[in-house]
C-alpha cells in the first residue's frame, strides 16, 4: 500500500475494521486449533477404537436400575457394557429394557424460544395418510386444521366437541390462553424428548394422538387426528403433565397396546386412565407419590412388578431413586452418582489456549452455570418461581476458573504490548495506541491478527514519509526516516520465521529441479529428443507441487481407511466413513481425484498463460501438436499414477491377513478401478476448457461439465453395471474425442 494516503490518526474506520476482522480472525484461529488439536489427539491415541465412557441410567424389565457404562466402537460395530449400581458387570439385551419409563414434566414451565414467536400462530403436527394437520391459533382460542395433501383443501376442523367440516366459532375452539397462562399442545409420544429433558429412550407411539392441556390444567383433551375425534381425558384437579403408556406386559416381554393408556400427573398423584365407550375415559389406577416429589419439575416414573419406582434427577450426575407403594409411602431410597467423565475444574485450563478473552469469558460463564446452555424449551425462572425442584446442570466451581482466566488475560497483555510496540515504531498517535492496545485486551490473539492485517505493515513502510491529508507535508524528518530504515533493516534480518520460510521454499525448488532433471535424463534414455525431453521436464516441474499435495491427501485418506493410528482426525473434516469391510463401500478417493484432475489441468494451462510463456513455447522449433500432446501425456501419466497408488496401497493392506475381520477378494476393487478410469475425461475436459477460446459464461465450461457429468451420473445411468471392458472402452473413446478436440483447438487458436 505504499504511496497510499494512510494517516496515523485513529479513525472510525479503524474501529469498524477492528470488529469486522476480529470476528473472522477468531473463526480462522478456532479452526486452526480444531484442526491441529484433532491431529495431536489422534497421534496420541493408541487405538482407533472409539471408546466412550458415559454413565446413563436405564432399567431392566424387573425394574432393576443399571448403568450403561462403556461403549466400544470399531467401524460400524458397537458394543455396550452395563453394570449394576455396585459396579458389577451385568448383561442386558435391548429387548430386556423396561418399557414403562415415563417422564412427566410440568407443562407450566414450557416456553417458546424468544426468536420463535413467528411460529406461534400455527404449528405443523404431522403428515400421514395424505392428510396434513396443524394446530392453528386465533387469538386466545385455537383448533386443529386438517388439509388434504393432494387437493390442498381444508378437510375440516377439530375442536373440543369433535370434527366439523366448517370453521369453528370461537366458543367451540380450545382455550389456549387465559390470564397469561398458555395451553400446552403436546404430542402423545416422547414427551421428555419434546421438552428437551435429560432422559431419552422412551416408548413412542402414533403421531396422530395429541393432548391439549387447557390453561390451568383443569381440563385435558385427547385428540386423535386420524380418527378426527376429541374427548375430554380429564376434568377436575389440575393436571401438570401427561403422557401415554403404550406397553402391556406379557411375561418378560412388553407388547404395544392397540389403545394406549393415559398417564396424568397431578400435584400429588398419577392417574392412569384408558379410553372407554361414548367418548368417556375410565380410571385404571391411581398412584400417590411421596410428598417430596410433589414439586419435582420432572417426575420420572418407572412401573415395576414390585410397585412404582421414581427417579428424581438432582443434577446431571446424581439421581435419587425412590421405591414406594401406591399409597405414596417410601419403601426404600438411594442416591446414586454417575461416574461419567463429565466436565471438571481441569476443563478451564483449555481456556488459555483459545487466546480470546471475550469468547473464553462467555464459555467460562456457561461452564460455571451449565443451565444457561440447556435452557431450550424450559423456563427455568418460572420453575424457580413456582418452587419446583429442577435438575440443575453441572456447575463447576468458579474458583477453578480464576487461575486459567487470569493466565489468559495476562497472556493477552503480551499481544497488546506487541501491538503498541509496533504502533510506536510506525509513529502512530496515542489514540491509536490506546485503542488497539485496549481492543487486543478484549479480542486477544484474534484481535492482534486483526490489528496486523487491518493495514499493510511492510518492513520498509516506515521509511516512507507519511503524508497527512491536512498539510500534505512529510510527517517524518529525514533523520527519523533514516533511523526507522535502519531499524526496519535490522528487524528484517532478525525475522527467523521469514528466513525459515525462504529456506523451505528454496529446498522445495531444489527438490523440484532435481526431480525434473531426473525425468529429463529418463526421457533421453527412452529416446526422446532433447527438445521433447525438455518439455516433459517443464511439465513435470509445473505439476510436481500438485502431485505432492494430492499424494499427501491420499496418504491421509488411506491412513484413515486402514485405521492407522493418528489419522482419525480426518473424519472430523472430510466425513470419511468407517467400514469394517474394505471396498464394501466405495473408498472416498473419487472427490480427491476429481479435485486433483481439475487442478492439474488448470495449473498446466495457467502456468503458460500467467507467465506469458505461450508465445515463447510456440516459437520453439517444435510443433504445436507436439507441445499439447506432451502436456496432456505428462498430465495423464501423473494423474493415473497418483490416483492409482492409493487404491493399490489400500488393496494391499486389505489383502494382508489379520488387518481386518472380513473377507477380501481382489475382485472387490473393481468399483474403485472403474472410478479411477472415469477421472481422465474430467482432466481432458478441463484442459479443453482452459484452452478453448470461448466465453466463460457461454460454452467454455461445457467440456469440463461433460467430463464431470459423466463421472457423477454414471451410477444413475447404470454404467457401473456394464462389463468393465465396455465401460473402459467407452471412456477410452471419450478420451479420444477430447484429445482430437484439443489438437484442433491448439492448431487453430490464435495466441497473442
Amino acid at each position: 500500500m505504499s504511496g497510499s494516503r494512510r494517516t496515523t490518526r485513529l479513525r472510525l474506520s479503524d474501529a469498524c475494521q477492528a470488529l469486522l476482522l476480529t470476528v473472522a480472525a477468531t473463526v480462522v484461529w478456532f479452526f486452526a486449533i480444531l484442526f491441529f488439536g484433532g491431529i495431536v489427539e489422534e497421534v496420541l491415541r493408541k487405538t482407533d477404537d472409539a471408546v466412550s465412557e458415559n454413565h446413563s441410567l436405564t432399567y431392566q424389565h424387573d425394574g432393576f436400575p443399571i448403568w450403561i457404562t462403556t461403549r466400544y466402537r470399531h467401524g460400524i460395530i458397537e458394543l455396550t457394557e452395563c453394570r449394576d449400581l455396585d459396579g458389577k458387570p451385568v448383561g442386558m439385551k435391548p429387548e430386556e429394557a423396561n418399557a414403562h419409563q415415563h417422564a412427566l414434566i410440568d407443562a407450566r414451565i414450557f416456553r417458546q424460544p424468544k426468536r420463535h414467536h413467528w411460529m406461534e400462530d400455527s404449528r405443523h403436527l404431522n403428515f400421514e395418510n395424505r392428510q396434513v394437520s396443524f394446530f392453528e391459533r386465533t387469538g386466545d382460542r385455537g383448533h386443529f386444521v386438517i388439509f388434504h395433501a393432494t387437493t390442498r383443501r381444508r378437510i375440516g376442523f377439530i375442536g373440543p366437541e369433535g370434527f366439523s367440516e366448517h370453521p369453528l366459532p370461537a366458543e367451540k375452539q380450545y382455550l389456549v390462553r387465559e390470564r397469561g397462562d398458555q395451553a400446552a399442545v403436546m404430542p402423545g409420544f416422547a414427551t421428555a424428548i419434546f421438552y428437551g429433558a435429560r432422559l431419552t429412550d422412551f416408548p413412542t407411539g402414533s403421531q396422530n394422538l395429541w393432548f391439549v392441556r387447557e390453561p390451568g390444567g383443569r381440563r385435558v383433551h385427547l385428540v386423535d387426528l386420524e380418527q378426527r375425534t376429541s374427548r375430554v381425558a380429564h376434568d377436575g384437579e389440575p393436571v401438570l403433565a401427561m403422557c401415554f403408556d403404550w406397553q402391556r406386559d406379557i411375561g418378560q416381554k412388553s407388547l404395544p397396546l392397540e389403545s394406549p393408556r393415559i398417564v396424568l400427573r397431578t400435584e400429588t398423584a398419577l392417574k392412569v386412565v384408558e379410553p372407554a365407550e361414548a367418548g368417556a375415559v375410565r380410571l385404571v389406577e391411581e398412584i400417590r407419590f411421596p410428598s417430596r416429589l410433589h414439586h419435582a419439575a420432572q417426575l420420572n416414573w418407572i412401573r415395576t412388578p414390585d410397585g412404582p419406582l421414581f427417579d428424581l434427577l438432582l443434577d446431571d450426575d446424581r439421581h435419587q431413586l425412590i421405591w414406594a407403594n401406591a399409597a405414596g409411602e417410601v419403601i426404600r431410597e438411594r442416591t446414586i452418582e454417575s461416574r461419567s467423565p463429565n466436565l471438571d475444574g481441569r476443563a478451564f485450563w483449555m481456556l488459555p489456549l483459545l487466546q480470546s478473552p471475550l469468547v473464553a469469558d462467555v464459555l467460562a460463564r456457561v461452564m460455571v452455570n451449565e443451565d444457561e446452555l440447556n435452557s431450550d424449551g424450559i423456563d427455568r425462572a418460572k420453575a424457580q418461581a413456582l418452587g419446583l425442584i429442577f435438575a440443575r446442570g453441572k456447575r463447576l466451581p468458579i474458583r477453578d476458573a480464576v487461575m486459567p482466566l487470569a493466565l489468559l488475560h495476562l497472556s493477552t497483555l503480551l499481544w497488546s504490548a506487541l501491538a503498541v510496540r509496533r504502533l510506536r515504531r510506525f509513529g502512530a498517535s496515542t489514540g491509536e495506541q490506546v485503542f488497539w492496545g485496549g481492543w487486543i485486551l478484549i479480542g486477544g490473539f484474534p484481535g492482534y491478527l486483526a490489528f496486523r492485517v487491518h493495514r499493510d505493515w511492510h518492513v520498509g513502510r516506515a521509511l516512507l514519509p507519511v503524508v497527512t491529508e491536512q498539510t500534505g507535508k512529510s510527517a517524518h524528518p529525514t533523520a527519523a526516516a533514516a533511523a526507522a530504515a535502519a531499524a526496519a533493516a535490522r528487524e528484517s534480518s532478525r525475522d527467523g520465521v521469514k528466513r525459515l520460510l525462504v529456506r523451505c521454499s528454496e529446498t522445495a525448488v531444489l527438490v523440484a529441479d532435481a526431480s525434473a532433471v531426473f525425468v529429463y535424463g529418463v526421457m533421453l534414455r527412452i529416446g526422446l529428443t532433447p527438445g521433447h525431453a525438455a518439455l516433459v521436464m517443464k511439465e513435470v516441474r509445473v505439476s510436481l507441487g500438485l502431485v505432492v499435495a494430492a499424494s499427501i491427501g491420499f496418504v491421509f485418506v488411506v491412513g484413515k481407511l486402514t485405521v492407522s493410528s493418528g489419522f482419525g482426525f480426518m473424519s472430523q473434516f472430510f466425513g470419511i466413513f468407517e467400514s469394517t469391510m474394505p471396498f464394501f463401500q466405495m473408498p472416498p478417493f473419487g472427490n480427491l481425484s476429481l479435485l486433483f484432475a481439475v487442478s492439474l489441468a488448470v495449473m498446466q494451462v495457467m502456468s503458460e498463460s500467467r507467465h506469458e510463456a505461450w508465445l515463447f513455447s510456440l516459437h520453439r522449433p517444435i510443433s504445436r501438436r507436439a507441445i499439447v500432446i506432451i502436456k496432456l501425456a505428462v498430465g495423464l501419466v501423473l494423474l493415473l499414477v497418483t490416483t492409482a497408488v492409493p487404491i493399490v496401497m489400500y488393496s494391499l493392506w486389505a489383502a494382508r491377513p489379520g488387518t481386518h475381520p472380513s473377507p477380501f477378494e481382489w475382485g472387490m476393487t473393481e468399483a474403485a478401478w472403474r472410478h479411477w478410469w472415469c477421472v481422465p475425461p474430467v482432466y481432458l475436459g478441463t484442459l479443453l476448457m482452459m484452452l478453448r477460446p470461448a466465453r466463460w459464461l457461454g460454452t467454455r465450461v461445457l467440456p469440463c461439465a461433460a467430463g464431470l457429468w459423466w463421472f457423477l451420473r454414471r451410477e444413475a445411468w447404470g454404467l457401473s453395471l456394464w462389463p468393465i471392458g465396455w465401460e473402459f472402452s467407452v471412456l477410452l473413446a471419450i478420451d479420444a474425442v477430447f484429445v482430437i478436440c484439443l489438437l484442433l483447438v491448439i492448431r487453430e487458436r490464435e495466441y497473442p
Binding site: 475494521q17 469486522l20 413467528w118 400455527s122 390442498r152 431450550d376 424449551g377
Partner: protein, 230 residues
C-alpha cells in the same frame, strides 16, 4: 449519477440474470411445478411448508449468499480487471460518490433479488388451496431476515474485493464475517436448542444488521480513500 448507475448495471447484468434464473428455479420447485430431482433439499415439496422449514431456509441462505458474494466481488473487482480504476477516479466525481453508487446499486439489486423469491412464494402460499397449510404473514420473518442479511454479505464481499491484501490470507476475512454472524443468528432463529443468552431478539437482530452495515460502509469508503489504484 445515472451514467454511473447504468455502468454498474451493465457490469453486473449477468449476475442479475443468473440470480433471476436461480430465483425462478427455486420458485418453480417450491410451488410444485416440477418434480425435478435437483430439489434443493430433501423433504421440500408442495405438501410441506417451505417458509418455516429449516431445509429450505438453509438453501435460501446459501443461494442468496452466493448471489450477494458474486455482486460484491464483481462490482469491486471489475474496474481492477479491466484496468479502469485510473479512468474512473479521474472523472469529476469524488471517490466516495463513485464507490457509493456501486454500493447503492449492489445493495438494491441484492435486496430485490433476495426479496423476490421470499415474497413471491409468500404471496403464492397465501392464496387458498395453493398449499396444504394455514398461512400467516408472520412466517415471513426468517425469510425476510435472510434477505436483509444478504446485503451484509454483499458489503462484506465488496470490502474483500477492494481491500489491498492477500487473497489467501486476510483479504477474504471481511467476507467471512457476515457469513459467520449470519449463521449464528440463523441458528438462533431456527434452532430451539440455542441458549437464549447468546440469541438476540428480532429487534436486536435488526440493530446488529444495521450497525454492521454502517461499519462496512465506513470501512469500504475508508479503504477506497486510502488505496493506491495506480
Amino acid at each position: 449519477m445515472w451514467a454511473l448507475i447504468q455502468k454498474e448495471l451493465r457490469a453486473v447484468w449477468w449476475v442479475v440474470a443468473l440470480a433471476a434464473i436461480g430465483d425462478v428455479w427455486l420458485l418453480v420447485v417450491l410451488t410444485g411445478q416440477t418434480q425435478d430431482a435437483t430439489n434443493p433439499g430433501e423433504g421440500i415439496s408442495r405438501e410441506a411448508y417451505a417458509l418455516t422449514q429449516m431445509t429450505w431456509l438453509t438453501w435460501l441462505g446459501f443461494q442468496l449468499s452466493c448471489v450477494a458474494i458474486a455482486f460484491g466481488l464483481v462490482m469491486s473487482l471489475d474496474d481492477g480487471l479491466r484496468g479502469t480504476w485510473g479512468f474512473a477516479l479521474y472523472r469529476p466525481v469524488s471517490r466516495r460518490v463513485y464507490v457509493g453508487v456501486k454500493l447503492l446499486v449492489g445493495s438494491v439489486l441484492t435486496l430485490l433479488l433476495s426479496l423476490f423469491p421470499v415474497v413471491s412464494y409468500a404471496v403464492w402460499a397465501s392464496q387458498p388451496e395453493n398449499l396444504a397449510a394455514p398461512f400467516f404473514w408472520a412466517f415471513l420473518q426468517p425469510g425476510l431476515e435472510i434477505s436483509g442479511w444478504s446485503v451484509l454479505v454483499f458489503l462484506g464481499a465488496f470490502l474483500s474485493g477492494v481491500r489491498p491484501a492477500r487473497w489467501m490470507w486476510s483479504r477474504v476475512w471481511p467476507g467471512v464475517t457476515p457469513i459467520v454472524l449470519g449463521a449464528w443468528l440463523w441458528l438462533g432463529a431456527l434452532e430451539p436448542s440455542m441458549p437464549d443468552f447468546v440469541v438476540p431478539t428480532v429487534g436486536q437482530f435488526a440493530l446488529i444488521g444495521v450497525a454492521l452495515a454502517a461499519m462496512y460502509v465506513v470501512s469500504i469508503l475508508s479503504v477506497v480513500e486510502e488505496r493506491d489504484f495506480a
